[in-house]
Amino acid sequence: MNKQPDEHLNQEMNSIELIIGKILRIGVIISATIMLIGWLLLVITGKTGYAGNFHPTSFQQIIAGTVQLKPDAIMMLGIFCLILTPVLRVIVSIYSFFKERDMLYVYITSFVLLVLIISFLIGLSQA
């Protein structure tokens, strides 16, 4: 009797972890590739694409700089993608728990996402 739910729980966790692992790997590979391209451009050309110690920080500057193939802008884009990978992990977890009908953990993980969003907004307002 005791073994049945245990096995089920184990299988459930396995599939959740596999999905999260896969998506996380894709996210990490994408951000690493973007960072690597920017860094190689920096090393090859020896120029950051900007004057002095300036580097782009707003979305507008980063996207404009990336289109013009400026190394610093591409690297910042890669860093931003890397920052998003843990958030992506939380979102995928919510979806996976939902698919497994584990509502308790859907609520728990959604709450974590909510707090993340709040802290993100607080951060932006202080920046």
């Binding site: 996380l24 690597l36 920017g38 860093i79 920052i83 992990r89 974590v112 707090v115 802290s119 951060g123």
Partner: protein, 281 residues
Amino acid sequence: MLETALIMIVIGILAGIAGAILGLGGGIIVTPVLTLGFGLNIKYAIGASIIVVIATSSGSTIAYLRDEVLNLRVAMFLEIATTIGAVVGSLLTGVLNPKYLYVLFGLLLIFSGFNMVRKLRMKANDYGTGKDDALASKLELNGRYYDKNLKQTIDYQVTNVPGGLSVMFGAGLASGLLGIGSGAFKVIAMDTFMKMPLKPSSATSNLMMGVTAAASATVYFFNGTILPGIAVPLALGILGGAVVGSRIMQVLPTKLIRIVFIPILLYIGGNMLLQGFGVKL
């Protein structure tokens, strides 16, 4: 330019390996190297350290998820406490004198260090120490992992959920207020308070740190404290190092991981205590 970048990659690889094995963010290694070794402004070192934490977390989690060492439910449940702690911490900046926090956290780390020394004397398979806990069962926190060193699957029970939650809240508070990854506290919350085995504790700490760091990282990103020329080679090195480190960790004996962890714990604890008393190192 190329020389600095290559040094950053090497530092990154080493920090990634160490961070993944011990469940620490790696900021502990990178921040002193950048400030003392390269004379970088502490402001930029903290910006780089946040990226280091995320890279270690994401890099090692890829391996840990596939090998099922980490406990996803424990991570998500405890994240409630760390993220709320981080928000409260960031709101308290400027209100609360961090001096007292440094002393408090320094003492907690040193206390935990001695606690871990006691655990060292236990047998290598010091798992399953937790008793049946109603709350942990209800939350389905109990888990199992395959120990590649012992070559067996280990079932473990989680206990003292409120105690773990409180330490996690403190860890979040510290990262929000002091700008640290506080991986050491996360490992302690699980290993010492909740009686989880060290390996799942370390792996789960790695997963959690990335989520906590992501919130504050955006602030540093937009206010320009993250220097791409330094953060990128570091992050690339760390991603590689963390993948390697998470593989190494699984075949190491738990005892050896503790032996490395304890002096680092005492070092950080002593450092924080001194800082609390106004001594700058």
